[in-house]
Amino acid sequence: MSGASQLVFWFASALAVLSALATVAMRSPIRAAVGLLFHIIALAGMYLVLHAQLLAAIQLIVYAGAVVVLFVFVIMLIGPSAETGLGQRGLLVRAASGGLMALVMGALTFSVIDYAPPMLAGVENCPPGAGAECGQFGGVQALGGILYGSAVLPFELVSVLLLVAILGAIAVARGRSAEEVAERKARKLAGASAGGK
């Protein structure tokens, strides 16, 4: 790969790891959300290195534009009590499970880091006499052709999934508060005792 993409790769990977650590370690959720935002921007840069231009744009629009904003909105609605400490319950078990996960992921990282298969032709290194589709890899035309071609059924099913998710989110978020539930229960009990007399 070229020198520019190497520079982007090392910069984006450092930013991705640091911002992921910030997301996980920050005490305040709003700072964690900002860490998530930087993580998403770093991954979009990584997708550009990987010749996935359309996915980089979608990543920025959907994640940075929708998901992070949704997180920030919920943190704003909940207010100061969204910030919680580490908690004492089961701290030892949690630390042990986190350490175990770190070991497993460290072993996985060291086992794959030297894997360097040859890159197949078809993106930049087009063989002579290749068709017009060579070099279109990852663009709007190539990916859109698949989404409206062989992948049209899952693409339409995703719209149904998103509709169901919207309806489910509305139905779940409309729930009552604890006082309303208690008041309703009391009214029901009063009604039952009045009817029993």
């Binding site: 790969m1 790769f9 990977s13 991705a16 790891v17 992921a20 997301t23 996980v24 370690a25 959720p29 964690a32 998530l36 998403i40 991954l43 010749h51 996935a52 996915l55 959907v62 994640y63 949704l70 997180f71 919920v74 609605l77 009590s81 969204a82 580490l86 908690g87 319950r89 949690r94 630390a95 986190g98 996960m101 770190a102 497993v104 992921m105 460290g106 996985l108 990282t109 794959v112 894997y115 360097a116 298969p117 890159m119 197949l120 993106v123 990852g138 990916l143 698949i146 995703v158 999934l161 998103l162 169901v164 998710a165 919207i166 489910g168 989110a169 509305i170 779940v172 729930g175 604890a178």
Partner: protein, 102 residues
């Protein structure tokens, strides 16, 4: 220093590990949801990276596209559940969510 497919997959496994540790260790539901997003993003990175090294088709990128759509739906429903639980319990600690115990 040149880089190959292993560097991308190694980076993705590091990011997945950070997300998994965050999910296991933290007890703030909002941070746990963000950790799930980190893990989903790490999987997307492996899909796109492997697709770059085998560019005969776009299977990996199409999978990553659907992953992004599903992650958005998951975040919406998860945050709705967080709001609903906060109304009942006035807390976003996942230890406080013990409604089925009582």
């Amino acid at each position: 220093m040149d880089f190959g497919l292993g560097h991308f997959i190694g980076l993705a496994s590091v990011l997945f590990g950070i997300g998994a540790i965050g999910f296991l260790v933290r007890r703030n539901v909002l941070i746990q949801l963000m950790s799930i997003e980190l893990m989903l993003n790490a999987v997307n990175l492996t899909l796109v990276a492997i697709n770059r090294w085998m560019p005969g088709n776009h299977a990996g990128q199409v999978f990553a596209f659907f992953n992004i759509a599903i992650a958005a739906a998951e975040a919406a429903v998860g945050l709705a559940i967080v709001i609903s639980v906060y109304r009942l319990k006035k807390s976003v600690q996942s230890d406080a969510v013990d409604l089925l115990k009582h």
